[in-house]
Symmetry: C2
Subunit: 481 residues, 2 copies
């Protein structure tokens, strides 16, 4: 490795030292100033070329996108905007870039355009910053759980179970679609498929996570999950990463605390380790919001918003309390909600969640104890209350601008209650005997939750479209690259 | 959290302190000694019950697999085999376990049997140890790359590209197999499928990794990959995790060094952080090997073997040198190889790799510069040698007992050579324009490799069947749990 990474050079004090830089040309001004980026930093290093002594055919090939090698002396910069630069004694072209054809020009491109060239958008400052923050958040997730002695479990991606009902699933098959095997009854014979049965891509590792938690105590998953829903929104992906911890002996209070601690820890880690990237994204967001009416702009800038979340306790309240607030709220009274809240039992829509988080409390909110009928079968049932209402020990964490960041619950550990509920909602227990075994043999109170990782990245980077925070987004009619 | 995890208690010196333990009963002897495990340690804590003052109906429910809560005083143990124990003042049952039905009895079960109850095998010492080591290795992978400033990229799982040819693929679809849409020509109309085209599960994140490396410099992936091959062996899975770093400006020497450093780092991390687990697995392996003839037993025990790898340089040699050694070897001369090596150009089989690693060098081997014809299209071509032989800058790292642990190469960065090679092997360049763009715009020398994570876990745990080192193995005709 003969060269030094630009990130190191930008921090260096070793003026007068001979250095070698390798990277891609971002701009070339006045036949003299080459801004070079090697991806190690969002910032470029400037190389100053002695153009009188540089052959013309080299000068012509110093184009945006070209890869160059520069040998020179590290000096204090005379110009504005940088502390150090390289006084080049030699420049050579490693790889050319045809300026006419290279899609990234030294100007502002729209995020929509960049999505179409997702294979090249990593070479912009914005996407460098986004994916550095994503990297920091991913490592922080692992670090947080390792420090607390959780075991990282890789739960399966291909699953024969479709019982959880968290969403529409993708089929996985090796059957020849042009020549499908049939049973005597004329049905497709999945016994002939690769796994000897019908299989799908997982929507959640939770059920397998529970199996592991009831052996190891505390575990987490962090892996891809899938939803085959035809949702073309700025907040949905068909393929996304999810963090799912599951803890034996945790009740709902412990679960809430862990989730709040996790979110604060990882955002703080991003603030601590990516200050330049987050500052860049802060400025980007301010610029973007200039085109909005004053009322639609954020009250806090990105750094203020992240610090606010890290430094303040999340609000905790029950679904019943939330309904009360919403019933009395101005948009409900004035019929401004699309879905008016008419009473207890209503499923909360995005507009209601946003009202609670963005208007009423102005901070992250943990909502608990939802009506049983609008939540999943595996959630622990509370005692029926004085009004005869049946709730479950669910918790959703709602974030400003994002909506649901976390969904979780204490799990129903009572075998009979669980089976009764599965029968009520039509989940075939005979396919889930392995899951029910956890309640048969040493069942204990336990809890867990799921964090949509891209929503976390979205919040931490201040981006607004989820397709901009995953390298190659998969959405309806789109699986490019 | 009112209780203390057993791992902490086993290290504690606070004798006389009142503690609460929660966990699962492993054994209950003499109506008095309860061995309790909560998953935090492979070791149990012993609770000593005052059986005369414990109600009979509680005593009867202290069965293997039951979950219990024990309150008592932490004391120095009088018995052998443990340093501390809990003198119980109160024991209660959290969750019963019917001793007649619980499949895990306090005796040795075969690994085959445990594979059938993969949802419960985590509750054994062996699988506790295996998955703790797996967890340590996974974290070490991330730690290694983060310390070196690599960016963790989540490359896509669902891919529209099937060009890499690394293996058979699984189809991903939401089409109704009983009612497949057809084009006018009668073909299946994949435009109607979820992504608007035919899609598969990825076999490798490499190509997308290259896109990112040529922007960020150094990146890695660590995620699930898939092969739809009907291989029912102890070393193949249909779904497995792979680590794939990709580095701009790295040549083959740098690539080899990084791979060797990575493997040594993660194994050393497992040795440092999981000493009890690895000692347990060492003893397990010695016990297992007792049933083998002396000649088939390992020369080194597990700990010696891991230390040997960490402390010694890997052997590096070219394919051509390896062929020379193999041609002259006893099993080739005596026609003991199933596939005799008759000359340069032969593809190496497992028996040849094992001979080199286990008999000839007795240490990990990095083999480089393979014949172009037996390697992938994207590998950098060496100049043709004096004998007219065309090789590529491939590298495979071979490990004793495992075979191929790492496969990698310097990549072909020359656009014309790459296109020519793609045409020769029949890869449609028009579907790969995004990949070729990396060679059009600022192409640079770069390299990368892939590590099969389960093979790494297999090696580090001394297990022999890859199905025992992933929580829920997916293999032909098997996608249980």
């Amino acid at each position: 490795m003969e060269h030094t990474r630009i990130k190191e050079l930008l921090k260096s004090e070793e003026f007068g030292k001979e250095v070698i830089v390798k990277g891609w040309v971002r701009t070339f001004r006045n036949n003299q100033f080459v801004a070079i980026n090697d991806g190690s930093s969002i910032n470029n290093i400037q190389a100053v070329i002695d153009f009188e002594n540089t052959p013309d055919d080299i000068l012509r090939r110093i184009t945006t996108g070209a890869a160059v090698r520069v040998k020179g002396i590290l000096v204090e910069s005379q110009g504005k905007g940088q502390r150090v630069e390289v006084k080049a004694t030699d420049i050579s072209i490693i790889g050319d870039s045809d300026a006419e054809k290279f899609p990234l020009q030294p100007k502002k491109h729209s995020l929509e355009f960049l999505r179409e060239i997702a294979h090249l958008r990593f070479r912009t400052g914005t996407f460098n910053a986004i994916f550095k923050v994503r990297n920091a958040l991913a490592f922080a997730v692992n670090k947080f759980f390792q420090e607390r002695d959780f075991v990282y479990m890789h739960t399966p991606i291909i699953t024969g179970s479709d019982a959880e009902g968290a969403g529409e699933m993708f089929r996985v098959t090796t059957l020849d679609l042009n020549n499908l095997p049939r049973t005597e009854q004329g049905d497709i014979d999945f016994k002939e498929d690769f796994f000897g049965k019908s299989t799908n891509l997982t929507v959640s590792g939770q059920l397998e996570g529970e199996l592991a938690a009831l052996a190891f105590g505390n575990i987490y998953t962090f892996g891809p999950t899938f939803r085959a829903e035809n949702s073309n929104t700025t907040r949905h992906l068909a393929e996304f990463w999810m963090i799912e911890p599951e803890m034996a002996f945790y009740e709902l209070e412990d679960n809430m605390q862990l989730a709040e601690d996790l979110l604060k820890y990882v955002i703080r880690y991003a603030l601590d380790t990516c200050p330049e990237e987050i500052e860049f994204l802060r400025a980007r967001l301010l610029e973007e919001e200039k085109s909005k009416p004053q009322a639609d702009r954020s009250e806090l800038d990105l750094v203020e918003k992240l610090n606010f979340v890290v430094q303040n306790d999340f609000v905790r309240l029950t679904y019943t309390e939330a309904i009360d607030i919403l019933m009395k709220s101005k948009p409900n009274q004035k019929k401004q909600f699309k879905y008016l809240i008419e009473g207890w039992g209503a499923d909360l829509q995005s507009e209601h969640e946003r009202y609670l988080v963005e208007k009423h409390f102005k901070k992250p909110v943990i909502l608990i104890d939802y009506p049983r009928e609008i939540k999943s079968f595996y959630m622990k049932q509370n005692p029926v209350d004085a009004q005869g209402r049946q709730t479950v020990r669910a918790m959703d964490i709602l974030f400003p601008g994002i909506g649901e960041m976390v969904g979780g619950s204490q799990r129903e550990e009572n075998l009979e209650k669980l089976i009764t509920r599965m029968n009520e909602v039509g989940i075939p227990t005979e396919e889930m005997e392995w899951f029910l075994d956890t309640r048969r043999f040493g069942s204990v109170p336990h809890s867990g939750f799921g964090v949509g990782f891209e929503r976390l990245v979205l919040f931490t980077t201040g981006m607004t479209n989820i397709r901009d925070v995953i390298p190659f987004p998969r959405t309806p009619k789109n699986a490019e690259f």
